[in-house]
Symmetry: C4
Subunit: 347 residues, 4 copies
């Protein structure tokens, strides 16, 4: 194990532990969904049993438009977790993201561990993951990314943009100079589509435009209101900062980025603090094609077991069916047709 590689491994473990505690949540910033309300549709003719959630994730069919968010890469514990998350994804035939594959670029000892993921997951879409900082630093970015894709037979590559985290991380590299140019090069040359993703502070509409112009085919907003990386990094370093409540609420990201669909073709993924079923349903109503979650799934797998996670996701969609039935929607995109209104107009 190289030195840098060991540090990452330790960091990953620490991240996982800290992220599971309630202290890792925002204090005042919310995911924003509480400002919206569904309109009950009395004359619904929706047949619950006819609702299907099958969707296409790029070229592959999945059973739910739900992604297990990128979390762990090749840490020992992480690997074990990844295998368990893969069981969940497999059971539901949904996409799963791996955590940052940064370490594989440094030390190929860990590459092996990824094999099990594809073995367990079978044909499910697997998303590779690499950070903006790594992209900026890499000298052979196309080769590097293709290497990471091959390692896990990835169906798409996620580039996470985490400027806040890099800023507060003791070992962080808060410098993304040249990022967009490189993303342009990547999207033109690698084998899979690219998804741009925050890690909990939210993609803003301006960033979205830049990223779409650079050729990304998916935006995972990963907005504020859920896992709070600023706080996690501050806990790790024992510091305090005014940045512990920084970020764009998930609903804000969706509402503003959805408008870009007029001009760009891309998959809009809602994540960041989605906890209650209505949050997921409101995400689709605000324009999301997919929803995603990290912490809730991780928590269930770690504190309970794979089945609990499978149940959580199934129940989620059972609840969403109820909401669709009550709002008179036959499919998820119907939810976008004036089914959700601003609370302030609801009287």
């Amino acid at each position: 194990m190289s030195d840098e590689s060991k540090i990452i491994s330790g960091r990953k473990g620490e991240h996982i532990k800290l992220s599971l505690s309630d202290d890792a949540d925002y204090d005042s910033v919310t995911n924003g969904f509480e400002n919206y309300q569904f309109v009950h549709h009395a004359a619904t003719e929706t047949v619950i049993d006819e609702i299907g959630f099958e969707a296409k994730f790029f070229s592959k069919k999945v059973d739910y438009p739900f992604i297990i968010s990128s979390m762990t890469g090749g840490a020992k514990e992480a690997n074990n977790i990844n295998e368990r998350l893969a069981e969940v994804a497999k059971a539901l035939n949904i996409p799963i993201g791996v955590g940052s594959q940064r370490r594989s670029l440094l030390d190929n000892k860990f590459d092996r561990s990824y094999k099990s993921l594809r073995r367990i997951g079978g044909a499910i879409p697997i998303l590779g993951n690499i950070g903006a900082a790594q992209i900026v630093k890499s000298k052979n970015i196309i080769d590097d990314i293709n290497y990471l894709i091959d390692l896990i037979e990835a169906d798409a590559m996620v580039i996470h943009l985490n400027p806040l985290q890099e800023l507060l991380q003791p070992e962080g590299e808060p410098n993304f100079k040249g990022l967009l140019k490189k993303i342009e090069k990547i999207t033109a040359k690698i084998k899979t589509p690219v998804i741009a993703k925050e890690v909990g502070a939210g993609i803003d509409p301006d960033s979205a435009v830049k990223l779409l112009e650079a050729g990304v085919k998916g935006i995972d907003v990963a907005g504020a209101g859920g896992t709070n990386w600023a706080k996690i990094e501050l806990m790790r370093s024992g510091n305090q900062s005014f940045l512990s409540e920084w970020g764009n609420p998930t609903s804000y990201c969706l509402r503003t980025i959805k408008k870009l669909k007029k001009n760009y073709k891309f998959v809009l993924i809602s994540s960041g603090g989605l906890r209650k079923s209505v949050d997921y349903a409101k995400s689709y109503a605000l324009g999301a094609d997919f929803t995603a979650a990290a912490k809730p799934i991780l928590k269930l797998v770690v504190e309970k077991d794979e089945l609990a996670a499978v149940d959580y996701i199934k129940n989620l969609f059972e609840d969403i069916k109820k909401i669709m039935y009550l709002t008179g929607c036959k499919n998820l995109s119907d939810l976008q047709k004036n089914k959700l209104i601003n609370k302030s107009e609801f009287h």
Copy 2:
């Protein structure tokens, strides 16, 4: 008694008991009227004693534009309650609705009990009642409904749309597929006008349009803020659900559906959480032709007596007279002429 029929009878009794408790109210959703305020009209020339509330309910004259909402059908206790409610309606010459007549389609033992209703009520308008689920299931819907109409010599037929209740009821049938087509057929063929009604989650403007297009002549919004069927069904089943605070506030339903009067001719009925006199008055101001209540009347009849219920309704209209006097209205429709404004503009 058929098996299904017995279940209904037991369910009805349970419903009545649970609905009377305060636990059956919404916790956070309100009827919405608190957002509106009457403008005092100092130069009023209204003469209180000249105010009359006589109104036409379809072809019959009534003394107040107030309906005792559909509650009980043929349960033993229910029947007794219906007779007492009929005494109240008769004393005031106002319309009364019966609860779901579903059981009469299964088991004609109960038909007798309805006779007393018309005997007591005399010529008052009596509203039949059947649920969307029954309509969808029925093979001979026109015959069935005409049969129910004849049973009580109904002046109008209420079709209640209760998707939320069906969803949460252990024995519920949450499937209204084909409902609107059937309503279209019904309104074209049966002897009486049809009223569409929710049961406490509120008719939304989209549903209203569909229902009016299908030929209904009345909309009883039965909005959220009052009797909360989701909670009642959850109490019955011992479950919890995020749906316990679901529904469109009554004021929202009125404000949005009233606008449809430009294009459709129909009776707009306000109900759902009307408790204070001002709520009833605000209903007329927001466009209601009739108001209605279920729980307050039931509670008085059950816990006190018929006279108490008669007094409640009389006092209501005494209070409405005061409000009309103070806002300078000679009749109820005057209340719609800028007499009510949004609280946020009242400074």
Copy 3:
């Protein structure tokens, strides 16, 4: 003393006592001024000592645009109070209103008592006062009013419109039918200008239009937020009512009635819950020509003495001078030039 006359005398005493207690205030309705904020004007060149408040009340010059509101008529105690209020008005050379002169129409024993008012007041404007109910009932309204005018050598006649009070007063006459026609006749024929006035529930813009069309030359809004006659009458009768928080906030009345100045020439008087100096200043900023108060002046005269009341009013205008200086106003009408903004825009 006629019987009816005795009752009035007793009622007046009771009114005075009850109105002085804090229980006679609104619980939730406010005068509305808290929604507005003055903009500080740093480059002010206002010279405080050059500010004068001289104004014209119809044809007479007064030293402050402030009126001691109509309160007491001929009750024994009342008369004594009137004399003391007259001392205050005289000391400041400001207008004073007498309370309802209704009793003088019934029993001329009390006429004498008014003489002292004019004797003490000298040339100050004195406002007669009669209620809408009396006007409606009177058979010889022009003679009656001219008689009341002569009694106190009135400079203007106030007609108070108090539908809420009449409604809740045990001995009330809530029937103003024909009022506007009669006011039209009055304004055409009597010797003085007529002012229409509420008593604490606020004149609304619709009433104002009707009254101005009928020829009144002044509107005293007497808005909600101050003395609450509904509560006072309810205390007297031992009843409770949903009407205890009824009325138009004073700021609402001013903001909406001020706009009528484009089409009508009239004196706009702000009263109703004015207590703090800023409330008076905001009244001028919202378009008032005069401000007025009842309870604060009465309280000082009754619980302290005339001097205290004189000081209160003087201090008020000292404070207003400060506000004018700080907002860069040379005269009161300057206050209307964007000096006051809605709090919600003040950031």
Copy 4:
């Protein structure tokens, strides 16, 4: 020492002591910045180390667009404080303002003390300071001001407009008649540019227009939300006043005055209650060219030492760098490009 001069000296000391206590803050009025929120920019390419804050203060280059606000003139203690503040300004190469030089116009004994300021400060921009009241009173205003400029070799002259303070100061002179005419004369004739400044109640847009028309080249808004001179003067005199919460929030001043940049060329300085790093950053986002603070710097110098003050300012700009990085800004003026939005739109 002349008598008047002694009084000023004592007043200055008292001011300093009182201003440092928490009682000298506003109770309810805020600087307004809490209504705004930065939008996180995930695709930032800002390189923190490339951010420079060098700016031009009129013709001189400074290292930060930050001014140590005008505080103390020639009081004994004051002088000592000024020397220490000058050390801070020198260490950072930033402008510093002196407190009112009024005393120097009365008694030239104090002139000496200013020499040390320029000696310590070297070439940093030093701002002279004189109050509106002195300007209005002066018979030889051009000579007087040129004399004050020479005393400290001032780079700009600040005229402070403090009507509220003059009003509440026992020895105050609340009369600025003729001020603007005189400012016009001054800006035309003196050697340095003129900056107009409040002292904590905020310059409003109307005043700004007048001042810019009169030729001033800088506006320091010194808005409400920070040091509260009304309260300080009330503490000194032992009085209470409704004016203790008077003033324009700093954000309001910036938002409204910034718009004048279309028509006038001037330096917009934000001050008044800036305490947290985000407040400074939001100031630039709302249009400020420079920010400034008085109390925070004074407090550190008096209660800790010069180094603490230097650190405070350095940390401030370190934090601003972070905010610029997180909002994707390369320089401060980028912050004005939709980086800050109203909180109510942030969901």
